[in-house]
């Protein structure tokens, strides 16, 4: 099956980041020497004085951003997901513990950087970030989700982990009109028999699978779990007008994700 309309998640992210810099003058962007690869460089080109490449030093990156946050600017830390995990302890002991208004906008997660090999592929980050007190975790499914969620995320108060891929990002949510808010998921397909819950780029595969299942006579719902933490009751998708949710509570639930099982999305759903 051919994947259509593939565009790059980081390209969309980089351009949006630069435009948010225009709108919010208190935003600063920090990175550990991956400005070009993450496309944070687009922000640097527009706002060089509000852009900080700290060098290849992720631990310093996190605590330096923390320090900036207490002076009244709003730091956005942009890095590869994997290498940010090197500073998980700094994130835990300074950012989460002090509940600082620092956002982590990461790219290259999951297998999206397949070419660079296993050193660059982070499958554990959702598990690691979900468990931190005060943290929120948001995962856009495709570039259109980035467009509808990034500004909401930047405006949100408190620490937040925003998980993106690199280039691979088949279009899933282009034709949907939902707006994003923290805590809320989106129903991409309604169904009664089976519910597939996914987060990130795998939702494209989930949608293909749901179509296959339909052909087999299994009426399948697909839920885009953008807000992995927090998750509102019933995914926050109960429709106002008829009280319907688009999926059936208690239907068989299938989880689809590209990060490790233990502590990740599966755990989030079951708890």
């Amino acid at each position: 099956m051919m994947q259509e309309n593939i565009s790059s998640m980081r390209e969309v992210f980089g351009k949006l980041l630069a435009s948010l810099g225009e709108k919010y003058e208190d935003l600063v962007v920090l990175t550990a020497d991956v400005g070009d690869s993450t496309r944070a460089s687009y922000f640097r080109e527009r706002f060089p004085k509000r852009y900080f490449n700290v060098g290849i030093s992720e631990q310093d990156l996190v605590d330096f951003a923390a320090g900036m946050a207490v002076t009244g600017v709003r730091p956005l830390v942009v890095n590869f997901g994997m290498f940010l995990m090197r500073a998980w302890e700094q994130i835990r002991n300074t950012i989460a513990r002090m509940n600082l208004d620092v956002k982590f906008l990461v790219t290259h997660t999951g297998y999206s950087d397949s070419g660079d090999g296993s050193s660059h592929q982070v499958l554990e980050d959702v598990s690691l970030m979900r468990v931190l007190p005060n943290f929120k975790v948001v995962i856009p499914a495709d570039p259109y989700d980035v467009m509808r969620s990034l500004e909401v995320v930047v405006r949100e108060k408190g620490p937040l982990y925003y998980r993106m891929g690199r280039d691979y990002s088949p279009v899933v949510t282009k034709d949907f009109s939902y707006e994003f808010r923290i805590g809320q998921s989106a129903v991409l397909k309604e169904g009664e028999d089976l519910t597939i819950v996914g987060a990130g780029v795998v939702l494209w595969d989930a949608m293909q699978a749901a179509q296959e299942l339909e052909r087999m006579g299994i009426n399948t719902a697909v839920i885009n779990l953008l807000s992995v933490k927090p998750i509102e009751k019933d995914f926050g998708v109960l429709r106002q007008e008829d009280g319907e949710s688009g999926y059936r509570r208690g239907a068989q639930c299938l989880r689809w994700h590209r990060f490790s099982g233990g502590g990740g999305l599966g755990q989030a759903l079951s708890s």
């Binding site: 060098g55 631990q59 330096f64 320090g67 900036m68 207490v70 700094q90 300074t94």
Partner: protein
């Protein structure tokens, strides 16, 4: 009183009267750290007594009352295990109630084993070593960006220099020429498991900090006048400065002074306090 002076001016020297007052605060704080042993025997008394004079001087002269994050001074106790000294001095200054000192590390008390920002007077939650200098660098950058005049004081241990993050931060702060950062390294010669010399000698500190681009100064870490003079030099230097402070672990408490021992028995504490 403050460490902020017009460009080129000297930090005001300490008058005899002020020195007397600060020495009294330090002495009372020292005794109260030792007295905490009655209530909890796991606190890091040795490391706390190493920091008493540095913290006394900073907490009394730094501008602490401003709500403006850019024009106040920040005191980061990166060696967070010296929290009892910080708490004892904050109590002397009326920032926290003295009664809380006797509930140190009690689950119902205010004062945690390591500094937390929900405690009045604490600027950074610390306890995991090596993180204070990066945080201080970030504050200094924020202040510079917006044209404030606040200074950032970061207190580290010599054992703490083992942490790689210290060097990430030191090179970063030097590269950005953040001359509003003043670091302190207490050279008390001990870390948790033993003497610094046995574990990883630190004879290189002066040369390495200097080579990175820091103004490296020396002070007697238990002599308030010496510390104030070094801060004066730091303020005038136009570079990020680090003050290597000769201190003693357990300073003034004979059962543990200048040993790797962090703590002693309540009985020892009682004997000391009766005679002191």
């Amino acid at each position: 009183m403050s460490f902020v002076v017009p460009m080129g001016d000297d930090v005001q020297p300490i008058s005899l009267e002020e020195l007397q007052k600060l020495k009294q605060i330090a002495e009372r704080a020292r005794k109260n750290v030792i007295r905490m042993l009655f209530y909890d025997q796991t606190i890091h008394v040795g490391s706390s007594l190493s920091s008493v004079e540095i913290l006394t001087l900073l907490l009394s002269r730094a501008r602490r009352d401003s709500r403006d994050p850019l024009n106040r001074d920040w005191i980061i106790l990166s060696k967070g295990h010296a929290a009892p000294a910080l708490y004892a001095i904050l109590a002397e200054m009326g920032v926290i109630p003295k009664d809380e000192l006797w509930k140190i590390q009690d689950i119902n008390g205010l004062l945690q084993g390591h500094p937390e920002t929900f405690i009045p007077g604490v600027d950074m939650s610390t306890g995991s070593l090596g993180q204070g200098l990066s945080f201080g660098g970030g504050i200094a950058m924020g202040i510079k960006m917006k044209g404030g005049n606040g200074k950032v004081f970061v207190i580290m241990g010599d054992g703490e220099q083992d942490e790689g993050q210290v060097w990430e931060a030191a090179t970063h702060i030097a590269a950005r020429k953040l001359d509003n950062v003043i670091g302190f390294i207490e050279l008390n010669g001990y870390q948790l498991d033993g003497s610094v010399d046995e574990i990883k000698p630190k004879s290189y500190l002066r040369e390495v900090w200097s080579a990175i681009g820091w103004n490296v100064l020396k002070a007697d870490g238990h002599d308030i006048t010496s510390l104030n003079a070094a801060i004066g030099e730091a303020v005038k230097s136009g570079k990020p400065s680090v003050i290597l402070c000769n201190t003693l672990r357990g300073k003034g408490f004979p059962p543990i002074e200048n040993t790797k021992k962090q703590r002693s028995s309540p009985d020892d504490a009682r004997k000391y306090l009766v005679n002191a």
